[in-house]
């Protein structure tokens, strides 16, 4: 075997392993957003919500050193922030895009404001225990079974969201209000309550995703460290056709593109790092265009009531 093939083998393996790890934060956010959009609400605030989750995780981890607590706190803080979006969109019937952008800016500001004294602070991140026994399988073991617990939690979450949406009564109701809230309402489905629950759940998962980013992936807090991943998550949900399992898969592909750059350098290529960093955004954009064309043609996938406001009292 020539050195080149060995190098390529390592390249593919590290990119695959890195794809799963760096796709996990977006994956969590995209799973939450899938639930949210299925009920007809788009949440562009995810960017700020992820950041608040990321910072809260770091603060609790640094001050108390308890990872479980840090993750829970991140989820709760993110849920609180997404509660603002829920209030604006569902209770006050505001424009979903405008409210989302406002929440995004607010979350970014709050995380930068309170995160100043935590920039660059070192802490023990989430360790990669992997799964004993399976971790020594060549290639697959290294790619799949040498990850930390949260990576597997994301997989479980994807299955759970799938189960929720397709196999439970609440899930059916959620999908129904995303298609036609009025008819669902007339059938006795609590449209507003379910939308609020979906937005909060989406916020919670985005917070976990943010905390994973800071606690496990970078293991350090930096201002605006999500760099657009919240927006990407919203895009990936559309690309995945509002299906949870596809959303996680799309997140892994996005993750693979983001880890391309450091690994390409190891291969000895001299591609501009910034142009390579652009790739995930461009490819998500391209996928967005292709999938929109597909939905336009077939007229399926898109929750019909997405971004539409709903007031029970009026027609």
């Amino acid at each position: 075997m020539s050195l080149d093939t060995v190098a390529w083998g390592t390249f593919i393996m590290t990119v695959c392993a890195g794809a799963i790890q760096s796709g996990t934060p977006v994956g969590f956010a995209a799973l939450g957003e899938t639930i949210c959009e299925r009920t007809g609400v788009i949440n562009l605030g995810l960017e700020g919500i992820m950041l608040v989750g990321a910072l809260t995780g770091v603060i609790v981890q640094v001050e108390m050193g308890n990872t479980t607590l840090a993750l829970c706190a991140a989820g709760v803080a993110a849920t609180l922030l997404s509660g603002i979006h829920a209030f604006m969109v569902v209770v006050l019937n505001s424009n979903q895009i405008v409210s989302g952008i406002a929440v995004s800016i607010l979350g970014t500001g709050i995380s930068s404001f309170f995160g100043r004294s935590y920039v660059g602070v070192r802490f023990d991140g989430i360790p990669k225990h992997g799964i004993p026994g399976l971790r020594s399988i060549p290639f697959i073991g290294e790619v799949v079974f040498q990850q930390d617990l949260l990576v597997y939690l994301a997989l479980v979450m994807a299955l759970a969201v799938w189960f929720l949406l397709y196999r439970t009564r609440v899930g059916l109701q959620m999908r129904a209000i995303g298609e036609d809230p009025r008819i669902a309402y007339e059938q006795g489905v609590p449209v507003r309550r379910l939308r609020i629950i979906a937005i909060l759940l989406g916020g919670f998962l985005a917070g976990i995703g943010g905390a994973y980013l800071s606690l496990a992936y970078t293991q350090v807090w930096a201002e605006r460290m999500t760099s657009g991943q919240g927006i990407i998550a919203v895009g990936l949900v559309i690309v995945a056709g509002w299906r949870p399992l596809s959303a996680l898969l799309a997140a892994y592909i996005f993750g693979g593109l983001t880890v391309l750059h450091p690994n390409l350098q190891a291969l000895g290529t001299t591609a501009s790092p910034f142009l390579v960093k652009m790739l995930p955004y461009l490819i998500t954009l391209l996928a967005l265009i292709v999938s929109t064309l597909k939905y336009e043609k077939r007229g399926q996938g898109l929750p019909a009531a997405l971004m539409r406001q709903f007031l029970p009292g009026r027609s």
Partner: protein, 361 residues
Amino acid sequence: MTAESGNHYRERVSDLLRWASVALTPLSAILLALLLLSALLLAAGREPVSTLWAIAVSAFGSIGGLTETLTRMTPLLLCALAAGIPAKAGLFNIGGEGQLYCGAIGATAIVIYMPGLPHSLTIPAMVLAAMTAGALWAAIPGILRGALKVNEVLVSLMLNYVAVYLVEHLVHGPWKDSSALGWPYSLSFPGWAVLPTLGNSNVHLGLLFGLVATCLVYFLIKYTVWGFSIRVIESSQRTAYYSAIRVTSYLVILMALGGAMAGLAGLGEVSVIQGRLKSGISPGYGYTGFLVAWLARKNLLAMVFVSFVVGGFYSGADALQLTAGLPAATVDIFMGLVFLAFLVDEYLRTRSEAGKRLRVV
């Protein structure tokens, strides 16, 4: 007084009231947001009243402060137009940030690649290049929206990140100035490539561009057939389509026009404020501009007023960042709060209007 003139008088009054309500919405939203911000400052261990008072004084209390406010207002107004012009047809352009960066790239390209241009022609060429670059960048979501029905919100948002990386690539790579001591900067602009400024201040020609563009577009939309078509598109794309209005080309043109405005903002930042192209030339003017446009309820003339107030907050907070260590992120928090307060305000207003209508019927 005849009945006719009485009606006329009443119309005038209702016009005035409408104007007052347009002006009051941002004000009451800003007041509510100030209250919320005070609570937050208190939580962060700062004395809110004196902090906010200091911001107001340094933004509006002196000639120096006022010129800084006008300087900050310029990119905000231009970015508000970038969002506000497409909004006239119901489009969301949240790509002001990326279009600003593209405008900066366009302007810098003229300085780098056309050094032989007569000095008097350099600035006109830069203006043209910045507007074209911004317009082209904004036309992408416009075309995708118009022709393929791709959601322009996500496309314009994602292109922001692409544009920022493009600038980073340029200043780290091909456009990097070897005399900048290793810093990722382009060459610094020669004097004839700097927009004319007002006296010694940083208030530059961009502000005039913004004001003129505001008036031009305002009259275009209000008094021309072209503007009428846009209003038809806003109220119903279907109606517009059946009235043989070429919806797609209108959407693309409006987006491009908006992008050109953001491009001008990029020109001002790169030419006057920084004097060279580098990364991080905008602290989120594109996003704040979007908020300003909505805060002004998409009324172009109101955007001038709102961007002045918000510009004041930027300049005041900036001054306090230097003297009192107030984090720069305070502006982001404030903008988010203003906006949420605005949405609450909007809700209360529509509710009270609906109530009035019910009472009349």
